[in-house]
């Protein structure tokens, strides 16, 4: 039982990795690994059939995608024949799209009836592939509700920028120019995020020991309010580089976003222990300490901050205001008044 669980975990990790490699354009690497683990020729396939249950549908589907990208359509089809389920069906649809067989692709990906609804709504490509077939067939308007659902459910998917662009196009066709502009702005912003995301992942693959790419990756996740993913990346980063101060600081931000205030205090404190010059971490910690009425500690942090030249302007300017609150909490009315006056004066500047 334990062995099976280990195998299942390994498979899940491998599928995730293959998906990432494919998204980063490294199909050949996936294909080479797939040849080893899945077998390409019939004899090997027969041998592997005994352990077929190990070759999950997800692997076969990803391997087929890699094969198709290498122009090996027959091999892709052979692999798909060995599996079943949503991943396999959707990969078949992708192959059909390669061959301009739009109607067959739609039959595989849509439930019967109107309005069009995907057979596999739990997967991003379950929405995107039928939308793509409809768009190519000149029926973008029919795809519109599904595209909207896709960008709502999977806003960070690698297909999201394209889906947003298609929505802009659908709005133009419908004469909604304002709507088109808004969709396009979202598409461009999504594409920028995605390009950076892919660049960071590539950098992380290239320099697995270096913390910077992962730090960038975590920041990107936080930018789109995906603190859990950010935390995952940061934990991985800090395992590799436990003394990387900016990692601890960003971890504090991620934990705060997740509501784990104790955790974030602890991460910021760790960061400040390693590098007392991390002003943003100190500021964040102070604000949190005020919320917890830990006035003395907050005062200590804020007193350090207001002495800085950077505290004369945003974003550290509010350190004066918070210092006033901390001093008030400690009963130092005069000190609080003075800090508040300084804040107001600097604000006017």
């Amino acid at each position: 039982m334990k062995a099976l669980l280990i195998i299942a975990l390994f498979q899940a990790q491998q599928a995730e990795r293959w998906e990432e490699l494919i998204e980063l354009g490294l199909h050949r690497q996936v294909l080479k690994e797939a040849h080893t683990s899945l077998g390409a020729d019939d004899a090997k396939a027969e041998h592997l059939a005994k352990t077929e249950h190990l070759a999950k549908a997800e692997h076969l589907a990803l391997a087929a995608r890699a094969a198709a990208s290498a122009g090996q359509l027959e091999l892709a089809e052979r692999w798909l024949e060995r599996g079943e389920g949503p991943a396999i069906e959707l990969e078949r649809a992708r192959l059909l799209l390669h061959q301009d067989k739009l109607e067959q692709a739609l039959a595989l990906t849509l439930k019967p009836g109107e309005p069009p609804h995907p057979k596999y709504p739990e997967r991003a490509d379950g929405w995107m592939l039928p939308c793509r077939a409809l768009s190519r067939a000149g029926e973008l308007e029919r795809a519109r509700p599904m595209l909207e659902a896709l960008v709502t459910r999977f806003p960070q998917d690698d297909e999201a920028p394209a889906a947003l662009h298609l929505l802009a196009q659908a709005a133009i066709t419908g004469g909604d120019l304002e709507g088109a502009r808004s969709w396009r702005e979202r598409a461009l912003s999504s594409a920028r995020w995605r390009a950076l995301f892919d660049a960071r992942r590539t950098q992380a693959l290239e320099n697995p020991q270096d913390p910077l790419p992962r730090l960038g990756l975590a920041a990107l996740w936080l930018e789109v309010d995906r603190a859990e993913e950010a935390l995952g990346v940061l934990d991985e980063l800090l395992k590799l580089s436990p003394r990387f101060t900016r990692g601890h600081a960003l971890r504090g931000d991620a934990l705060r976003a997740l509501g784990d205030l104790d955790g974030s205090l602890s991460s910021w404190s760790e960061a400040l222990k390693l590098d007392p010059e991390l002003h943003a971490a100190r500021y964040n910690r102070a604000v949190l300490l005020i919320g917890r009425e830990r006035w003395e500690e907050a005062k200590a942090d804020l007193t350090l901050l207001v002495e800085l030249e950077q505290a004369q302007r945003p974003p550290l300017l509010d350190a004066h205001k918070h210092l006033a609150a901390a001093l008030e909490g400690l009963g130092d009315v005069e000190g609080a008044r003075s800090a508040r006056a300084r804040h107001e004066k600097l604000q006017k500047k």
């Binding site: 290498a70 290239e206 270096d210």
Partner: protein, 622 residues
């Protein structure tokens, strides 16, 4: 009875470049005689055209087996392109060069000019750049002439009468250089001063302007040819990025499918295009501010045409790895980018593709110009049909996706090579990365050129190369291409530049039984007092050839521009295929001046010279 809209004949109105006016204008396109678009579509659907399989591979009935034999060497076109090393370590080495077909000496023979690169960037920086290769034709036999003694890495060529003296001139665009070469009385091309400003030249430090494609057009209709100059990206020849972009842990490797390749275009800064207004004497002034669009794309090809049928010239721009642009003129020569609105910027998958080359033609014979856009491998060559508003993407309806996906295509032409009245799509092909020949890439470095028949009632049909001598048979890496009747038989030939290889001349032996008409449109010899005027060489004139009577009546549309394909200039002659018809019903010309001329019926297999205000000034049998 033929009915033509008067919309195109009225005086030019100056408009604000807003979408709504554009949409209205597109709805008021020229109404040319039918076939009825709806009926054609219905037939298309009935034949299973919408959701079927890919193109068939057929040799059309009657097509001689020799098809398009390469006779470059046999006819004296002995030219070998140089484009850096075989490994292609810099992006400059991968783009190859353009070609031009033009009539030097005004003797009626089409001469050939090849842009040329260098063996290495070091050679270029050492001042030992390449010259253009010039070949003069005498009835289709070529002799190499001395070049104009330029020195550079030349990419794009454009042609037109830039000084309004009645003969054709040349523009050579390159890496860090842009030169006008005016034709002297003896036919020699005399280089003018450098058009790029200081700071953008190769001799300056840093990345020079990299001019890829140039188009000649008259954007403000003053009768003087202007230049749209497509620019690519920042590449410092003294510090070519190698292996990766960026530094340290944040470097991003330059890879394609896991293979190490040259860097770019992604990650390198795109350069804005230029709009140079002609003074009518071969000199130009920079008025790029007339282009009001956001950002810059990696421009590779430029195609002037009247996108919205309102009588002025618009510009399609194919951009590599960035959205294509469609500059719509407001009539006064200022442009706004309507690429997104027109359905041109992105693919039907909602993605920016790597646009390489462009062609225009009326594929479905509905009186609107359609576009072909070539792309990178795994991206189909797109076919966009002109619609009442913008374009309708017909790539999948014609089945072009499955066939063209493995190809990386460059030059494109929508031209009736076999003279049957329907346009074909020709593309030059070849991958940018020599690494494409590694295993598991799904493509190859050398690829055969392709020709598809685009009869609108069926799926496209690929012409099969049956003879080894056909230009469609041998896998090569071809880039720039130009169309023109080299041997004077009325059938247009294809002149092609192969990267690091010998020039190719595909002689047109297709559709020998079909009738044809060749038309040369010319502006007035002396400029009219007031604008709008037609340029002396007729650039921008639009010609509608009406064929048949009654229900059978239909029209073929073509415009007189030389810039098309990839970095190249075709002959200004318009080539119409009449199929079995021995005559045409009418010829209607709309001049850039706003004047229209309707000429009566005439015989097929003729070559006509038509001058604005004078009608047919010369005519001869093919």
């Amino acid at each position: 009875m033929l009915k033509l809209s008067k919309e195109i004949t009225g005086p030019k109105r100056y408009r604000r470049p807003l979408l709504v006016p554009m949409v209205r204008r597109m709805g008021r396109r020229i109404l040319v005689a039918l076939p009825n678009r709806v009926n054609a579509l219905a037939l298309f659907l009935a034949l299973g055209g919408v959701l079927g399989a890919s193109c068939g591979q057929k040799t059309p009935p009657g097509a001689p087996q020799e098809g398009l034999p390469d006779e470059a060497a046999k006819r004296g076109l002995v030219h070998v392109n140089r484009s850096g090393g075989s490994k292609k370590r810099a992006i400059l080495e991968a783009g190859g060069a353009g070609v031009a077909l033009l009539d030097l000496h005004s003797d009626g023979d089409l001469d050939a000019i090849f842009a040329q690169g260098c063996d290495s960037l070091e050679e270029l920086l050492a001042g030992d750049g390449a010259d253009l290769a010039v070949f003069a034709s005498d009835d289709g036999q070529f002799t190499e002439l001395q070049g104009p003694k330029l020195s550079g890495w030349w990419t794009g060529l454009a042609t037109g009468d830039l000084d309004s003296d009645g003969d054709v001139d040349l523009v050579a665009a390159g890496f860090g250089s842009l030169r006008v070469l005016l034709q002297a009385e003896d036919g020699a091309l005399l280089p003018g001063p450098e058009l790029l400003p200081e700071g953008a030249r190769l001799s300056d430090s840093g990345a020079p302007a990299w001019c890829t494609s140039v188009a000649t057009l008259d954007v403000d209709r003053d009768g003087n040819l202007d230049l749209y100059v497509g620019c690519y990206l920042d590449l410092d020849p003294r510090a070519i990025p190698a292996g990766a972009l960026g530094e340290g842990a944040l470097a991003v490797p330059c890879r394609w499918k896991g293979l190490d390749v040259y860097c770019g275009p992604r990650g390198l800064r795109a350069q804005p295009d230029l709009l140079l207004m002609g003074n009518g004497d071969g000199s130009f002034r920079d008025e790029s501010q007339r282009l009001s669009g956001e950002g810059a794309g990696y421009t590779l090809s430029v195609l002037p045409f009247d996108a919205d049928g309102d009588g002025d010239t618009d510009i399609a721009v194919a951009c590599d790895s960035s959205p294509n642009r469609l500059w719509i003129s407001d009539g006064s020569g200022s442009f706004s980018d309507f690429g997104y609105e027109a359905g041109f910027a992105l693919s039907m998958d909602g993605q920016a593709e790597a646009g390489m080359g462009l062609a225009a033609g009326d594929v479905d014979r509905d009186g609107r110009l359609d576009l072909a856009v070539t792309n990178f491998s795994e991206e189909p060559t797109r076919l966009l049909l002109g619609a009442p508003v913008g374009f309708t993407d017909a790539t999948y309806r014609y089945g072009l996706n499955a066939e063209s996906r493995p190809l990386l295509s460059w030059g494109a032409h929508l031209i009736d090579l076999d003279g049957d009245g329907f346009l074909e799509l020709f593309t030059t092909n070849g991958h940018v990365y020599p690494e494409a020949d590694e295993e598991l890439t799904g493509t190859s470095y050398h690829q055969p050129d392709t020709l598809w028949r685009l009869d609108p009632s069926t799926r496209c049909e690929r012409f099969e190369a049956r003879a080894a001598s056909s230009i469609l048979s041998l896998p090569r890496g071809t880039r720039g291409s130009a169309v023109g009747d080299v041997d004077g038989d009325g059938r247009p030939e294809l002149l092609i530049s192969a990267i690091d290889g010998a020039a190719i001349l595909g002689m047109n032996r297709l559709g020998q039984e079909n009738k044809r008409l060749c038309v040369r449109l010319l502006g007035p010899q002396s400029p009219t007092e007031r604008a709008p005027r037609t340029p002396r060489d007729g650039t921008g004139a639009r010609c509608v050839l009406v064929l048949g009577e009654g229900a059978q009546q239909h029209a073929l549309l073509s415009e007189s521009f030389t810039a098309e394909g990839y970095q190249s200039a075709s002959s200004p002659w318009l080539h119409f295929g009449l199929g079995e018809r021995a005559s045409y019903t009418a010829l209607r010309i709309t001049w850039p001046s706003g004047q229209t001329e309707e000429l009566g019926s005439g015989s097929a297999n003729r070559r006509l010279w038509v001058r604005e205000g004078e009608g047919i000034i010369r005519e001869e049998a093919l």
